[in-house]
C-alpha cells in the first residue's frame, strides 16, 4: 500500500494569498494512501527540505508530492532531498500550485479548489510511479573528426590537447582543405600557407591524432559515447608507411590531368600529391586516369619506385573504430559555375572563379604567382570582380549571403593591385558586409589605398569583344548603365554545401536544411551541437563563415567533445521507453515514429537458437524519453517510464473524484 506524503508550500504569500494552504493540506490528508500532509512557509528552504527528508524516514513514505512552484524551478532540489532520505527520486512529484494556480487566479475559493485538484492529481500519479534508475552509459574516450580542413585540424588539435585520441578523417589525398588553396587571407594579408601548414604539421606530428586521408565514413552505428564508425579507406595503391615521398613516380608518370587543387588551371599526374606541402606527402593513384587502370599498360611508377611500394592490386579497406563523439567539419564547395550563363563562365576562358583567382596570384600556384590571364597569358590591366554570384538571389539561386565574398573580393583587389600597380580593379556589389574585427578598416584600405573602384549594382551580361571581355551592368547609385572593357572577370560564386553531405548527414542521423547545411541543435544557444547527442558541428558545414569563425567553432566543438569524454560514464534521466516483450507483436510502428532511431528489432530465440519472433527493443542510451512511440503501439506494449499510461490515466481519473 502506498504511503504518500504531501507538502504544501506557502511560498511566503505567493501561494498562500490565493490558496488556503491549510485547507488544501487537510483536504488532501483524507485521500486514501496519504499518510502525512502538512503546509509550510518555504518548502524549498533548508528547514523545509529537512521536513521532507524527516517525514520520508519517519513515516516510511513511498511517494511524495510537493505542492509549490513549477517543477522547472525546484524538481531537482526536492528529488535530491528525497534521494538523500533514501527515497527513489522519481517517486517525488510536484504539483504546480504557484505558476499554474495562485499567480494566475484572484479568487481564493477557486484558487484553493484548483490547488486541491492539482495536488490530488499528482497524488494519484505518484501512487503509481515506479522507482527509476538513471541510466549510466560507458564512454569510449576517442573522437572522430570528419573533414580535414582548417576547422577539422583545429578541432583535432584541441581535442588532442585535452588528452583524448582523435581520428581526423579526410576524403581527399591530403588534409588542408580550401584554406590551403588561398593566397593571402583577410584582414591581415598573411599568407594562408604560412599559417596553415604549421598547423598541418602539428596535427600530423601529434601522437594522439591519427590522420586518415583518402578515406570516408561508410557507416556510423551506436549512440553518444558509444559510436562505431566504419571507415572506407579508398585504394591509394601506395604503401604510406614505406613511401618516402621522393617524387620519382610522379615525375615519370606520363599522364597529365587537370589539377583539382589548382582549380583546373594547372596539371597534375595520374599518380600525384595534390600540392607540395600535402600531408601526408604520399601520392595516390587516380584510377580514373592512370593508364594501368584504364588500358592496362604503362606501369612505370611501380617499376621505378625505389621502395617498391606501389601496388596496383591494392583494394579499398573497411575499418571499424569505436569512438565516443564525432565532430562534423565537412566545409563547403563553390557553387557549380555552369549555373551562370550570363557571365560566360566556361565559355570565355578569362572568366574565372574567385578560387581560381587565388591560385592565379598564389606564389605556389601554376604560374608561381605571376598573374596571367588564362587565354593568352597576358597580364590583365583591368579586372572586374562580380560579387554575390549565386548568393542573395532567391529567384534563381541561393537566398542566403555567402558571408565571406565581400571581404575576399576586397582582398583580391589588393592582391591584384600589388601585382599590377597600374591596373584597374572594379567591383560590382549589392551591399558591402564587413562586420568583423578590422574588416571595415581593411575594406577602406582596398578602396582608398589600393583604389579598388566599387560600383553598386548587378552585372547583366559579360561577352567577348576581340581579345577583351565587355562587362555590362548597372550603377544604381548614379542610376547609369556601365560598360567596362576588362581583361579578366572574377566571379565571387556562392558557397554551397559540399557534395555528399546529405548522404553523410543521413549516415550520422543529423539534420540538414534545404541548402544541405547541417542544422544546429539551437541556432543561438547550442550552435556547435547537432540534435543527435554526441555529434558536434563546426565551420562551413553549418553555413558560410570565414576562417576566424570556423576556427573558433572548431575549438567550441572540441570543448564540447572534451566535456563529454571527460567522464568515464554518462548519466541520463531514467525517463525512457520500455517494451513489454510478451505482448509486442513486432509491428514496428514505434520504430517508424521514433525520431532518434532508438528502437530496433530484437530476435527472440528458443534454447536451440531458432528464431521465434522479433520484438521492439529500446536502446536507453539513444532514447530521449519523448514518448512518441507509446500511443502508436496497437498492443500497448511500449510505455514511457515516468509518464506511463497508468500514471497519466490516474491523473485523469483523479478528476472524476471531483464530480
Amino acid at each position: 500500500m502506498a504511503r504518500i506524503g504531501v507538502f504544501v508550500c506557502w511560498c511566503g504569500s505567493n501561494i498562500a494569498e490565493t490558496v488556503d494552504v491549510k485547507r488544501a493540506a487537510e483536504t488532501i490528508a483524507k485521500i486514501p494512501g496519504v499518510v502525512y500532509s502538512v503546509d509550510y512557509k518555504y518548502m524549498c528552504s533548508d528547514p523545509g527540505q529537512d521536513m521532507v527528508k524527516n517525514a520520508i524516514k519517519e513515516h516510511k513514505l513511498t511517494g511524495v508530492v510537493v505542492a509549490s512552484c513549477s517543477p522547472r524551478m525546484h524538481e531537482k532540489t526536492f528529488r535530491k532531498a528525497a534521494q538523500e532520505a533514501g527515497l527513489n527520486p522519481y517517486m517525488l512529484e510536484m504539483a504546480n500550485i504557484r505558476e499554474h494556480c495562485s499567480w494566475v487566479h484572484d479568487n481564493k475559493e477557486e484558487g484553493t479548489l484548483k490547488a486541491i485538484d492539482l495536488i490530488r492529481m499528482m497524488v494519484e500519479k505518484v501512487k503509481r510511479n515506479k522507482p527509476l534508475q538513471n541510466i549510466k552509459i560507458p564512454v569510449t574516450k576517442k573522437a572522430l573528426v570528419i573533414g580535414g580542413g582548417v576547422t577539422g585540424i583545429q578541432a583535432a588539435l584541441d581535442i588532442a590537447a585535452g588528452g583524448v585520441p582523435v581520428i581526423l578523417l579526410e576524403r581527399e589525398p591530403s588534409i588542408g582543405g580550401h584554406m590551403s588553396m588561398l593566397d593571402e587571407t583577410f584582414p591581415t594579408l598573411d599568407c594562408s600557407q604560412c599559417i596553415l601548414t604549421p598547423k598541418m604539421v602539428e596535427v600530423a606530428q601529434n601522437p594522439l591524432v591519427t590522420i586518415m586521408t583518402y578515406s570516408e565514413l561508410e557507416k556510423l552505428d551506436g549512440f553518444i559515447g558509444n559510436f562505431k564508425a566504419t571507415i572506407k579507406k579508398k585504394a591509394r595503391h601506395v604503401v604510406v608507411e614505406e613511401c618516402t615521398g621522393c617524387g620519382t613516380c610522379w615525375t615519370k608518370c606520363p599522364t597529365k590531368v587537370k589539377s583539382e587543387f589548382e582549380q583546373g588551371l594547372g596539371i597534375r599526374k595520374a599518380i600525384y600529391i595534390p600540392f607540395p606541402q600535402a600531408i601526408p606527402s604520399r601520392p595516390v593513384i587516380d584510377e580514373a586516369n592512370c593508364l594501368k587502370f584504364t588500358q592496362d599498360r604503362c606501369g612505370i611508377c611501380a617499376k621505378i619506385c625505389p621502395k617498391q611500394c606501389i601496388h596496383y592490386d591494392d583494394k579499398e579497406e573497411f575499418i571499424e573504430i569505436d569512438v565516443g563523439s564525432v565532430v562534423v567539419a565537412t566545409g563547403y564547395d563553390l557553387m557549380p559555375t555552369s549555373a551562370f550563363g550570363e557571365y560566360g563562365y566556361g565559355k570565355y576562358p578569362d572568366v574565372v572563379t574567385s578560387l581560381q583567382f587565388e591560385r592565379m596570384v598564389c606564389a605556389s600556384g601554376p604560374t608561381l604567382g605571376d598573374l596571367q590571364r588564362p587565354s593568352d597569358k597576358k597580364k590583365p590591366k583591368t579586372v572586374v570582380f562580380i560579387q554575390c554570384v549565386g548568393s542573395r538571389d532567391p529567384e534563381h539561386h541561393k537566398a542566403y549571403c555567402s558571408k565571406i565574398c565581400c571581404m575576399y573580393t576586397a582582398k583580391q583587389t589588393m592582391l591584384y593591385r600589388h601585382k599590377v600597380h597600374d591596373g584597374n580593379a572594379y567591383v560590382f556589389y549589392i551591399d558591402i558586409r564587413s562586420n568583423g574585427k578590422n574588416y571595415e578598416e581593411f575594406l577602406r584600405r582596398a578602396q582608398e589605398e589600393d583604389r579598388a573602384q566599387y560600383i553598386r549594382g548587378r552585372v547583366s551580361m559579360v561577352y567577348q569583344d576581340g581579345p577583351d571581355l565587355v562587362v555590362e551592368g548597372a550603377d544604381t547609385l548614379s542610376n547609369a548603365q556601365v560598360k567596362i572593357r576588362a581583361d579578366l572577370v572574377v566571379l565571387a560564386t556562392a558557397m554551397v554545401s559540399p557534395k555528399g553531405v546529405k548522404e553523410l548527414a543521413q549516415k550520422l542521423g543529423i539534420g540538414y536544411d534545404q541548402h544541405g547545411f547541417l542544422t544546429e541543435a539551437h541556432p543561438k544557444l547550442r550552435p556547435v551541437e547537432s540534435a543527435t547527442a554526441g555529434i558536434f558541428l563546426a565551420g562551413c558545414a553549418i553555413s558560410p563563415r570565414d576562417i576566424p569563425d570556423s576556427v573558433s567553432e572548431a575549438s567550441g566543438a572540441a570543448s564540447k567533445v572534451l566535456g563529454l569524454l571527460s567522464k568515464s560514464e554518462l548519466e541520463k534521466e531514467g525517463v525512457v521507453a520500455s517494451v513489454r516483450e510478451c505482448s509486442c507483436t513486432g509491428c514496428q510502428n514505434c520504430i517508424r515514429v521514433c525520431p532518434f532511431t532508438a528502437i530496433s528489432l530484437k530476435d527472440i530465440r528458443d534454447r536451440a537458437g531458432n528464431l521465434i519472433r522479433q520484438v521492439a527493443n529500446v536502446n536507453p542510451g539513444l532514447c530521449t524519453g519523448c514518448g512518441t512511440c507509446t500511443p502508436t503501439c496497437p498492443s500497448r506494449s511500449i510505455d514511457l517510464q515516468g509518464f506511463t499510461d497508468e500514471e497519466i490515466f490516474a491523473e485523469i481519473n483523479a478528476m472524476a473524484e471531483l464530480h
Binding site: C626, T628, I648
Partner: protein, 144 residues
C-alpha cells in the same frame, strides 16, 4: 441547491513549450479562468487520443491539447506525429458524436504566456456556452 455550473477543462501539454508557456503566464501574472487542469507530458507525441476520451468520460467538459509549434519540437518531430494523430482523431470524434469544439488543439511556445492565458479563457468561454458534457460520463455511470 442552485449552484452555478463551472466547466472543467483538462489540458494535455508538452513539457518544453506549453508547460513552460503556462509557467510564463504565471510569472507574468496573466490572469485566466481557473477551470483548467494541466497534465504534463514530455511531448505532444506522447498524448494518446485515449487520454482525451478518458478525460471526457471522467468528467471533463473540454480538452486542450497543446505543444510546441511545428519545427520547434524539442524532440524534432513529436508534434508532427501529434498533429497527424489529431487529424485522424477528429474524424473519430465526429463519428462518436462528440462535438469537435470540445477538443481544442493549439500550438503555444514557451514564450507565449499571454497566448496560453488567452487560450484557456477562450476555451472556457466556448465550453460555458456549450454546457456540460455528459454523454460519455453517463455511459460510464450506466455501465457501473
Amino acid at each position: 441547491m442552485e449552484e452555478k455550473w463551472e466547466p472543467t477543462i483538462i489540458a494535455f501539454v508538452c513539457n518544453w513549450c506549453t508547460y513552460a508557456g503556462a509557467d510564463l503566464a504565471g510569472t507574468s501574472r496573466f490572469k485566466y479562468a481557473p477551470n483548467v487542469r494541466v497534465i504534463k507530458t514530455p511531448c505532444t507525441g506522447r498524448i494518446d487520443p485515449m487520454f482525451v476520451l478518458s478525460a471526457l468520460e471522467r468528467g471533463a467538459d473540454g480538452v486542450i491539447i497543446s505543444g510546441c509549434h511545428p519545427n520547434d519540437c524539442h524532440y524534432n518531430e513529436g508534434n508532427f506525429n501529434a498533429r497527424r494523430k489529431y487529424i485522424m482523431f477528429r474524424a473519430l470524434l465526429t463519428q462518436l458524436g462528440v462535438d469537435l469544439d470540445r477538443v481544442t488543439f493549439a500550438w503555444c511556445s514557451a514564450s507565449e504566456g499571454i497566448k496560453f492565458a488567452g487560450l484557456v479563457n477562450e476555451v472556457t468561454e466556448k465550453i460555458k456556452k456549450m454546457g456540460p458534457y455528459t454523454e460519455f460520463k453517463q455511459l460510464n455511470q450506466d455501465a457501473r
